[in-house]
């Protein structure tokens, strides 16, 4: 099969020396002929395509029936895009498809792969059909290849755009979940951090905290990182810098809830423990902050009756 493919390509390059000849027939007419051919052999070509997909182990996240169903609609949209040369419908379909398959873990290379496979399967069928008339084959391919490449392009771009949209959406969700700076007592702020901290979020946290210190005139800040499982060296450094910057604004920072992993990271980067004030848990941190601020919390002798 591959051999035949190569031979035809060689002939094609040879014949490319006479482009006027190739364009003598209107491309739209050729496309019509092409589309008719693809419509006629729909069942067989689609079957072949599905076999090629499972052979190359693409779309492993989907069942055979699903692949067949998707293949059918992709095939039809593909032929329709070839026929009308309007890519909007295909674009919409690609976006819709991406929306459905991205959550199932389908990768970019798989989507690009199946579209390229379809392109190859169809090209093969054209070779087979016109193998006795190379000039005709050339003209057909001249019409087919740009359109097919554009389709592959459209689908790939649609998929990547959809993926990026999902990522953006998730980033926004994280940003919105991002950490509030809370005042729990006069001059005492709490910053509970939950989840993964990337450099961008770390910067945002610092900005919020430093502004919070200014607007609330805070003297003590408790940063609780119980909800942070681990942080990399960059973010750990950032945390240390945040502590120092807070000190420049006249506020003391108490860090609470360090996990063993984070403690390890901080020791590895050689943090100056004289600058870092750490307490085991949030409660202990708040108690120490209250001591610093001169608060004294006492239990009433008799609990009030409910």
């Amino acid at each position: 099969m591959a051999k035949r493919n190569e031979t035809s390509r060689e002939t094609m390059t040879l014949n490319n020396q006479a482009p006027e000849l190739a364009r003598s027939e209107a491309p739209s007419e050729l496309l019509r002929e092409l589309v008719a051919h693809l419509r006629q052999n729909r069942t067989q070509l689609r079957e072949e395509w599905v076999v090629r997909i499972s052979e190359t182990r693409l779309l492993t996240a989907m069942t055979k029936e699903e692949i067949f169903a998707e293949a059918t609609s992709i095939y039809d949209s593909y032929v329709e895009a070839l026929e009308t040369e309007a890519f909007e419908a295909l674009q919409a379909y690609a976006r819709n498809l991406s929306e459905r398959i991205i959550p199932r873990g389908v990768e970019t290379h798989e989507v690009v792969g199946i579209v390229l496979l379809l392109r190859d399967v169809l090209a093969r069928s054209l070779f087979a059909k016109y193998q006795n008339d190379f000039k005709k084959l050339n003209r057909i391919l001249d019409a087919y290849e740009p359109a097919a490449n554009r389709i592959a392009n459209t689908v790939a771009v649609g998929f990547v755009q959809e993926r990026e949209r999902v990522i953006r959406q998730q980033q926004e969700a994280i940003r919105e979940l991002s950490t509030p700076v809370l005042q729990v007592r006069e001059r005492l702020l709490i910053l509970p951090i939950i989840g993964v901290i990337d450099p961008q979020r770390a910067r945002q946290l610092t900005e919020q905290l430093l502004r919070g210190i200014r607007t609330n005139r805070a003297k003590v800040v408790v940063i609780d990182i119980t909800g942070v499982a681990a942080m990399d060296v960059t973010v750990a450094n950032h945390l240390v810098q945040t502590v120092e910057a807070s000190r420049l604004l006249g506020a003391t920072v108490i860090v609470t809830g360090l996990s063993p992993e984070i403690a390890q990271t901080l020791v590895t980067i050689g943090v100056d423990l004289g600058k870092m004030n750490t307490v085991g848990d949030l409660q202990g941190g708040i108690e120490q902050a209250e001591r610093v601020l001169g608060y004294k919390v006492a239990t009433l002798a008799e609990p009030e009756p409910r």
């Binding site: 200014r214 910057a245 006249g250």
Partner: protein, 120 residues
């Protein structure tokens, strides 16, 4: 532009009005170190609220001022560092180690009053 040095009880207050040249900073350093003994002041407050950029020279000079005043027997508090400036300074490694800092002039005075109370 010269930095005015005001005497307020036992405290000298120097307020930056704008970004300063290196010469102004040197002049401020000499002025403060001389006057702190002349007026028998117990502390100096340097208010940098108006500075929206703090370069390494300014930062080093502030630290030198604090250490020289310490040697002359008084305390120093730097007040009014802007949040953005604070973080930029830390990123450049200019952390004013061993120098007291406070949010603003009021906080600085409150800090010194506390300190005077405990040392008396």
């Amino acid at each position: 532009m010269e930095v005015p040095i005001l005497k307020q009880g036992a405290v000298l207050i120097a307020t930056f009005q704008a970004a300063l040249s290196d010469a102004d900073l040197n002049q401020l350093r000499m002025g403060l170190v001389q006057q702190v003994v002349k007026f028998r002041s117990r502390a100096v407050i340097v208010d940098v609220t108006a500075m929206d950029v703090m370069d390494s020279f300014a930062s080093r000079t502030l630290r030198e001022i604090a250490h020289m005043i310490r040697l002359r027997g008084a305390d120093t508090v730097i007040v009014g560092i802007q949040p953005e400036v604070a973080f930029a300074m830390v990123q450049l490694g200019l952390t004013l180690e061993g120098v007291a800092t406070a949010l603003d002039l009021e906080e600085g005075l409150a800090y010194l009053n506390e300190k005077f109370k405990t040392t008396n």
